[in-house]
Structure formats: C-alpha cells, structure tokens
Amino acid sequence: MRSARLAPRAGLLAVGAVIALLVVLPIFRLAYVVWTEGSASLDEVIGRPSLGDSIVNTVLLSVAVTVVAVPVGTLVALGLRRADVPGRRWWRFAMLLPVLVPQYVLGYSWTQAYARAGFTDTVLGVPWPSVHGPWGVWAVLVVNTVPLTYLLAAVGLATRAEPNLDRAARASGARPGSVLRNVTLPLLRPSIAAASVLSFVLTLESFAIPQVMGTPAGFTTVTTTIYRDLSLGSDPISFVEALALALLLVVLTVIVVVPADLWLGPRLRVTRVAAPEGAPIVTPPGATGRWIATGLGGYLLLGVVLPMVALVSAAITPAVGVSPTPSNWTLDNFRFVLNARNVEALGRSAVLAVTAAALLTVLGGAVAVLERQRSGRAMASLVTVTLVLPGSTLAVALLMTYGRWLGGTLTLILLAYLAKLWAFAHRPISGALDRLPAGELQAARASGANSLTAVRTVALRPLAPALLGAWLVCFVTALHEVTMSSLLYGPDGETLAVVVLNSGELGRIGATAALSVLLTLVMLVPAVLLWMLIRWLGSPRRLSDPRVRSLAHAR
C-alpha cells in the first residue's frame, strides 16, 4: 500500500527535478547574469542602433506573418471541408507537406528559385530580387506557418463545428455566407485565437529563415542578432546584448502567451471528436471545388514545389549560370559534400536525434501520466510553456548555466533538445490518454488482468500511434534543429544542420544545395516510413478470422 503511494510521488519528484534543471534554473540564471553583468554596460547596449532595429523588425514580422497565415490557414481548412473539392483527402495531406521541409532548406530553396540568377531568372527571365530581405523572409515564414494554422483550424472544425450545426443554420434559411459569419467562425474563434498566438510566437523565435534570407540583405531580427553577437562578436558589449535579447524574447513570449492561455485554456478543452470528413452540405460537383483545388495547387507549386525543384537543380548543376539541362547534370556537388567531416556530422545528428526522441518519448509519457494526478498538473503546464520558449533563449540560458562544464559538447545540445521539445512529446501522448475511455482499464482489471497486464493489453495498443508519433515529431525536429545547435556546437562538433548553415554562409551554392537535399532526405525517409506505420496502426483492424468474416457478412 505504502509503496504504491510512494511510486507516483517519487516519479513526480524525479520529473520535477529534470524540469527544474533543464528549464527553470537556466532561465533564472540568465536573468541573474543579465542583472549583474549587464548593469554596467546595459546603457551602452540599449544605445546600439542595431538593437532597436532588430526588435522592431521582429515584432513587425511576427504581426505580418500572423495576419496572413491565420486567415489563409482558416480559409484552406474551410475550403477542404467542402465535399466537392476533387482529391480532398490528398490535399489535406499535401497542405502539411511544407512542414516536412526544414526551415533552413525552405528559405534557401526560395533564394535559389526566385533570386537574381535563380531558377525563374535563368529559365523565364523573371527574378524577384527582394526575396532577399524582409519580403522574402515574410513570404517563406507564411508558407512555413500556414500548415500549422490550417491544422489548428481543421482540428477546430472537426471538434467544435459539428456538421449538424451548419446544417441546422442552413435549414433555418441562412445562406452559406451568413452561416460562416454567425455559426462557423464564432465556433472556431478559440482555434483561430490559438493559431494566432502560436503563429506570432513561432515567428518571434524563428531563426533559420531570417538568417538565410534576411541577413545577407542587412535585415536583422532578435534571433539573428543573438547569433551574430555570440558567434561573430568578440566584445563584451555584444555578449551582454545577446543575453539581454534572449531575455527580451522570453518576456515578449510571456506577454503574449500567458493572457492568451488564461482565456483560451478552458475554451479549447473538448471531449467529442467528430469525423474530419464531415462536410455539412454535399453538393453536386461544380466549379467552386475545382477552383479551390486549383488555388491550392498553385500555392503549393509556388511555395514548395518550384523552390524544391530549383534547389535540386542547383545541387546537380556544376556552377551558377550553367543552365540546368540534362547534359549539364552532375553529382560533383554531392561527391564534394560527402566528405568524412560531413558524414561525421550526419552521424552526430542521427545519434542526437534518435537519443533525444527516445528520451523525450519517455519524459513526455511520464508527464502525461503524472498530470492525471492533481499534483502533476502544474508540471504539465510548465512543460507546455517550453513549447513557446524561444530556442535562442533556451540555448543562451543553458550555455550560461552549464557551459563551464559542458560547453561545446553534444550533451549540452542534447539537453537543449530535451528542454525545447518536451512539449512536442507530451502533447500527443497526453491527447491519446485523454481519448482512452476511462472504463477500458477498469474493464480489463475486472476481467482478471493485473495493472501491468491491463496497460499492456488494453492501453498500449491504442496508445502506440501516439507514442510513435511523439517519437517521430521529436526525431524530425531534432534532426533539422539549427537555432540552438548553431549557438551551442563546439569545434569538431557540428551537426548536419549546422554544416548546411555554415556552408550557406560561405556562399558555396552547389554544395549548400546538395547538403540541403541530403538533409531533407535524411529527415523525410524515416518520417514517411514511420508515418505509414502509424497510419497502419491507427487504422481499424480488419477481421482476419475467416469464420468471423463470414459471420460479419451474414449480418
């Protein structure tokens, strides 16, 4: 009896300690260092013109991305709810594709596609020079954010806007526009608000895209300034500036997230989940559905497909300006980048990602289980906060706290991944636990299973897709993570993503393109395989026994 009560308490203490060491202590340490070290030179730091610029740029960029990405994502979700869109199922999947392209690669591929001497310039003679600079950064961030806002809106539609609610309005005499205004959008309001907050915060902390597209044009953000100060700057003022900016990022995030979470928290909690297929009104196939499909196709073509084609084309042509025709194709760039040093980096990335994903699945599962007790709830909230904790801040804070012992080691990067991605693993597992009907475990116990057997036979199977999904999300994110890795890596300790970033900064176009293709493939192949496995696990089992099947047919 006593041990049964002690075990969860010990678990709670252990997990709480890990959170304190990974997140709470470093953030306080950062604040403390800024307070003590910075007091002398803070005036000087605030006086630097680059500081104000980067802050204004960051906030404007976050607003601009949110203002476009949220309506676009919501419209796409509403459009894909219509049954008359040809290939609806396929588009639902395709809209999420941009997420599978690492941010750095997406940004770099846009410069290859649209910049002067890029793909459209060479092939069509139509360049878009401002792809380097704020407009390009904004456009790519929108493309990168829309899958997320779309997903949140689609989930909101499936869970909150039950098809019958729309039907009831139509049968009451309301036209489609009026239903959208009076019923669907009010029901979606919490989801839209959540999407806006997430979009704002993720843009705030985005690093790879502003770095690859903004920095060459002199467009700085808070994250790129932190990177510049820490990796290039050698004076103490730059150092204090980086710390102050890291702290500022977390303050900005808290200002946005905390009120939003207080308002949204109770409103986003839903229990019923409807079929995502549910189109309220099915109409005979018409022009509107085809227009929607065409629009989505055009968006994906310009946003992802063309840039990826340009990237591959840059990877297999020997030099800039050489036309990308088959006679000029070569694998020289790949041969060049597949040197011992880069292969080592690839190995480091893979080991880091696999280890981080495995540990995170355990940690995320632990919090998901512990939050079911009253005392574990605060811990779960804390873990959720790490979701929006800017990577740059976390990296700087960890460097401040543990750099003396772990500086430049893979362990420090691993710790950063664990802190940053904990919520990524916690969320899907917690969601799956929520959907597990309470009676099922009790029914197993009442049928004669002990607690372990009950979990193994009844709970593990429905939880398997969530556990694998959590692992996959952490693996993929860790593999292409560059914000924290680029601040934390030591000599001879680069990860593959850092290699790509550095190669891009050296201006080696062919090599960078080849590395980007490699990075995407390394990420995509396991992702697709595992995703298929998850789909297979999640699909309802067919009745396999022929006798059972014949009975089922007779019914």
Partner: protein, 371 residues
Amino acid sequence: MPADAPSPDVVAVRDLTVAYDGAIAVDGVSLRVRRGEMLALLGPSGSGKSTLLHTVAGFRPPTTGEVWLNGRRVATSRQAEPPERRDVAVVFQSYALWPHLSALDTVAYPIRRSGSGRRAAREEALEILDRLRIAHLANRRPAELSGGEQQRVGLARALARRASLYLFDEPTAHLDTHVRGVFLDELVVRREVSGAGGLYATHDAEEALGLADRVALLNAGRLVQLGTPQQVYAEPVDVWAARLTGPASVVNGVVVDARSDRCSVAVQGHVVTVGRPPAARVGDTVPLLVRPGWAQFGGSLRGRLRVVRFRGPHSDHLVETPTGEVLIREPGPPRHAVGAAVTWTLTRSWPLEAVRQQHRVARQSLAKQPT
C-alpha cells in the same frame, strides 16, 4: 418542368438512390408525404432513413432519382437546391444547438433569416418558447440546459421556421408527451393553413406507430412496406417487417384451401381462415404471424409453457408448440406454471410472405425467441 409533374404533395421522392463512401445508403426509394400528413421512416440503424432525410433537406444530392417539394423539383443528380431555399425545418439527432447562442437567439435565428428585425424575431421566438413552456430558459445557452430542455429548444427552432415540411432526424430521446402534443397541435394548425407535413426517422416502432399517419419500413436502403400504422402492425409483408413493428410469434400452417380472396390454413390439424397470401397453393407451408393479443388459452391446440413473465397489467406466456413458439398475452397474473401442458386457440393471424433473400438478418433473428 414536365407536364406530368406529381400533384403537389409536400414531399415526393422518385426512384431515389443515394450512394457515398462506396456504399448505397438509399436504394431506389419512391414515396410521398401528403399535405397535413406525418410519415414515419422506420428502420434499424444503417437502413438509410437518415440519408433519405438529409437528401430531402438538401444536405446531400441524390445519386439518381428526384426530390420534389410542394410540386417543385428541388434535387436531381446534377442540380440540388441548397437547404435554405427549400421550405423545410429540421429537428436534429442530439438537437444540434449552437453552443454560442442563447435559447432565445437560437429560436429567433430562422425568423431573422426570413427577413424580420432583431426585436420582432426575439418577440416571436419568446412566444414560441412560451408555447413549449420554456420561456424562462430563454437566456440560457445549450450547456446550461438539460437534455429535455435542449430538445424543446430544437423543436422551437424548427417551429420558428414556419416551414411546410418538418424533418425529424431520430431525435435521440422520445418526444415527451407534452411537447409532442404541442407539436402535433401546431402541425394540425399548419395543416389547415398551409398543409404542412412531417417526415420522422426513427428506429423505435412504438414511437413510429404512435406518432405517424403512415409508416414506411426501410431495410438496407430499400422500401419494404408503406402503410398506416395499423396495416404495418397487423399485416406486415414478411417476417422481418413483422419483427420490426412489434413483438411477433410465427407458427407454421399448411394451406388446405386457396380461393381468390381468402384461404384456409391448418395449424396442428385445426383449420383457421386467413387473408390469402400471395402465390400460396394448396399444400404450401406458410408462416403465420401471431401478435401477443391474437392467441388465448383454452381451445383445441396444444403446447407446453416454457417461460412466464408477469408484466403488471398483463402476463406474457411463451408456449412451445409443435409448429412454433407462440406468445400469449392475458390480463392479470400468470395463469399457469412453467412446464405445464396448456391448450390454446388462434383468434387472429396473418400469413407472411416467405422470407426473401435480402432479409438475412430476419432469418437469423428467427432463431432467437421473443421474450
């Protein structure tokens, strides 16, 4: 519009087939709802009654066939008028109340859409809520209402639409008697003024028989029988229909005399006269339907009492006979003990058509005895 347009029934469905997700949900159904009539669609889950209702409402287009409302063709496979332009009101399964609107605004919604101002719509909505005796709940949202109260708000919203056709998509709980009374009164008024009709989908036979002027039995998307409640209860077309519409015992008889209008059937050698079953010839074995009140104790047929259940006003006795099991319902407490040898007579019976291939479900449930 063709010259042979059907007479302006409230609804006319012609050869309607609706297929989606690779399955045929409604399979070649034709039926009409006359002015002022309530037609119940009775069938088990998956029989296509909801899909049929949704197609009439305009939530889904026909795959083939046509839907006519008030003499106007509103849907074919190529063109379907949207729901807001069809003159229909829908009561939904689990009511589909908008979580962000109060009861008052919910009921005012259809009135607003028909062009009334906010004040006028709210006044009218309050009047409807008052008629359903829930005016005091006007400012509550669905989350603050009980299931029965939600049902009344859902009904009030449908009434507020002032439609010529009311569609009921399996309201999950029975309509409670008061609400049903108010609603049927309302329908009677509408019938006199504009000839409103209703289409009521349910899997509950008692509800369908008690509520409707006519009942349509649906199985696997097909129309099995269409008739008055008395007809489908007393003269079902086959065993499946008999079991769907109420407690049913089946005994086997042999045709001894078949004339044009009626025939005689021998049960355990005793001849009873029944309406003529289609295509029965002398010597055929026909299944005979026996409803609980159609057999009584005493007489010349023999059997053994297998199960006895006291049910308050009456008692049910399940009698095992050489030709099948018969449920005998008699007023008062049980007459005999289990295992007793009893005699009984048939006061009434109805010959059923031989079970057709499509009703395999019915054949399986034949094996189960009624309790």
